[in-house]
């Protein structure tokens, strides 16, 4: 399995963050994303960074693992920074290195943009690291519930999500299995021209699609056989309840928000 795929990479655990109501986590993340865009001073960024890093530590997921999962976005973060540094030229020249002028304003802008990016990715990845996909969908269904009055198919959407999430690891396993089988029959996925590599994908994709369709059909049949008739009147096996720790987290987060807004310039 691809270890750098952190999205959907749930690490079971027993930390406070793990035990929070998934709705709490989603709401906090939602507002955190908004608040990040309000930050504009050293202090406000400092507070948010401390909050995000502190939360990451509190999950007790090994930091090396969190960092590894961010690997694909490191590139983007650094790229954003460099782009700002070299392309936009605003403010005073701070210093000149090897004949290349560094502008103060671009340095700051590049830095803050990369930091924002980093904070967003880090914080949202904490959700998927500490919350099982099922909990996430339950929470989304609960949070979107009011939309039902507008005839928005909340239940169906949640069901689709949870089924997709459930089958991602299965599909990845299947893909690995089939690619190994085809590699044994002489397919080379790694070397050769682009065209060769494209055509090497076909023996992988077709069996994968075939089995995914078969699986979907079997699942639908099994669900109907067990009396599934849609969301109407269906009860929940896991009821979501806010506990004291959730209220505490909301309160704490509110203070962070207030502090961030307060230290804006």
């Amino acid at each position: 399995m691809n270890n750098s795929m952190i999205i959907g990479q749930y690490v079971p655990g027993n930390s406070l963050i793990h035990r929070l109501d998934p709705r709490t986590k989603i709401l906090v993340i939602f507002f955190f994303v908004i608040v990040v865009f309000f930050a504009n001073s050293v202090w406000s960024y400092g507070i948010l960074t401390a909050f995000a890093v502190g939360t990451a530590l509190a999950t007790r997921v090994p930091l090396s693992f969190v960092a590894k999962g961010l690997k694909p976005v490191w590139f983007l973060i650094i790229f954003t920074f460099l782009l700002h540094l070299f392309v936009s030229r605003q403010g005073d020249i701070l210093f000149t290195l090897l004949g290349f002028p560094f502008y103060e304003e671009s340095l700051i802008q590049g830095g803050t943009l990369s930091l924002r990016f980093f904070l967003l990715i880090l914080f949202t990845s904490l959700l998927t690291l500490t919350t099982s996909p099922i909990e996430i969908t339950d929470a989304i269904e609960a949070l979107l519930h009011p939309l039902k009055k507008l005839r928005f198919p909340v239940h169906e959407l949640a069901l689709m999500m949870s089924i997709s999430l459930r089958f991602i690891p299965t599909l990845m396993q299947e893909a690995e299995k089939i690619s190994k089988a085809q590699a044994s029959r002489g397919v080379d996925f790694r070397t050769g021209s682009l065209k060769d590599r494209m055509s090497a994908i076909i023996p992988l994709l077709i069996p994968l699609f075939v089995s995914a369709f078969k699986r979907a059909e079997e699942l639908a049949m099994a669900m109907e056989a067990r009396g599934y008739q849609g969301g109407e009147g269906r009860t929940k096996i896991r009821a979501l309840v806010f506990y004291r720790k959730d209220y505490f987290v909301f309160f704490f987060f509110l203070m962070i928000v207030a502090a961030t807004i307060g230290t804006r310039m």
């Binding site: 270890n3 089988a181 044994s184 029959r185 002489g186």
Partner: protein, 290 residues
């Protein structure tokens, strides 16, 4: 070609919370031309083990030698292609790997990848179809229109058409009807004898191990638990029980006969009918004597 595992340890996803040691310090030797059965409880590491044979997995520690190819921990493998051409692996549920429009094309896929000439490929397809007992009329059909058992045979034909020297079978008969299972195991044995293959069979069936294998290796929790000739290994009933394995029914039956009647019959792979005859004969003689 002979296979040698030298103190192989394999770890899945090392350095993550999902780290899992699937093989530990495992050494074994499979002589050229022999038939070895690998047995173990589910999750004991059998499939992980066999994926080292054609370098789909590389040992985390230790080394694996297949003929002249040596795969060592931490070293890049060269010549993967020629290794893979010589080692055919039939995976668990191999029918999942079918993808071509016709049975013929799917069987030809392996040889084609290894650069076999068109004329020779056609010959190999014909032979492979015959070996797996499929008739010529499926040749032009889509593999997805066949029954599950037929699909399995097509997939196996696709591996046989590579003309491997080492044949690795990962529970090749799982999910087939009893008669299909027997036919298929016989087919592999005939091939093994005729082509002088080195065969490794992963199986849950003690009967198959007893009937076909020269050597048996028993895995438990990624470690080698026992190895030896089938009859010797299956004598150690109590130890096998510890790892949730049974002994073959025939042996179990003969042991019970001995306990009840005192008649001991040596099992030398006689057919059931012959055993029954001998037992009847000895019982009669005993009754006469009394």
């Amino acid at each position: 070609m002979e296979l040698t595992f030298n103190e192989v340890t394999f770890i899945y996803s090392p350095g993550t919370p999902f780290e899992f040691k699937a093989l530990e310090d495992l050494s074994m030797h499979v002589p050229s031309g022999s038939y070895t059965a690998v047995i173990g409880h589910t999750g004991s590491g059998k499939s992980t083990l066999i994926q080292h044979v054609n370098a789909l997995l590389q040992p985390t520690e230790g080394s694996v030698q297949v003929g002249d190819f040596v795969m060592e921990a931490g070293k890049k493998n060269k010549n993967l292609r020629s290794l893979r051409e010589k080692t055919g692996i039939v995976f668990q549920y191999p029918e999942h790997q079918l993808f071509e429009e016709t049975v013929e094309k799917d069987i030809a896929f392996g040889p084609k990848n290894f650069g076999v000439e068109q004329k020779e490929i056609e010959e190999r397809v014909t032979n492979a179809l015959e070996a797996v007992q499929l008739t010529e009329d499926v040749r032009e059909k889509s593999p997805f229109d066949l029954s599950g058992g037929q699909m399995r045979r097509v997939a196996i034909a696709g591996v046989l058409a590579m003309k491997p020297k080492v044949l690795v079978l990962d529970e090749p008969t799982a999910g087939l009807d009893p008669r299909g299972q027997k036919e298929m195991m016989e087919m592999f044995y005939t091939l093994h004898e005729r082509e002088g293959l080195t065969t490794v069979l992963v199986t849950h069936s003690m009967e198959d191990a007893l009937t076909y294998a020269d050597d048996v290796v028993i895995l438990n929790d990624g470690k080698k638990f026992m190895e030896g000739k089938p009859l010797e290994v299956f004598k150690r009933k109590e130890e096998l029980k510890q790892v949730q394995l049974d002994v073959p029914e025939v042996l179990e039956f003969l042991e019970k006969v001995e306990k009840r009647t005192g008649i001991s019959i040596n099992y030398e792979k006689q057919p059931i009918a012959e055993l029954a005859k001998e037992l009847a004969f000895r019982l009669e003689r005993r009754d006469d004597y009394e």
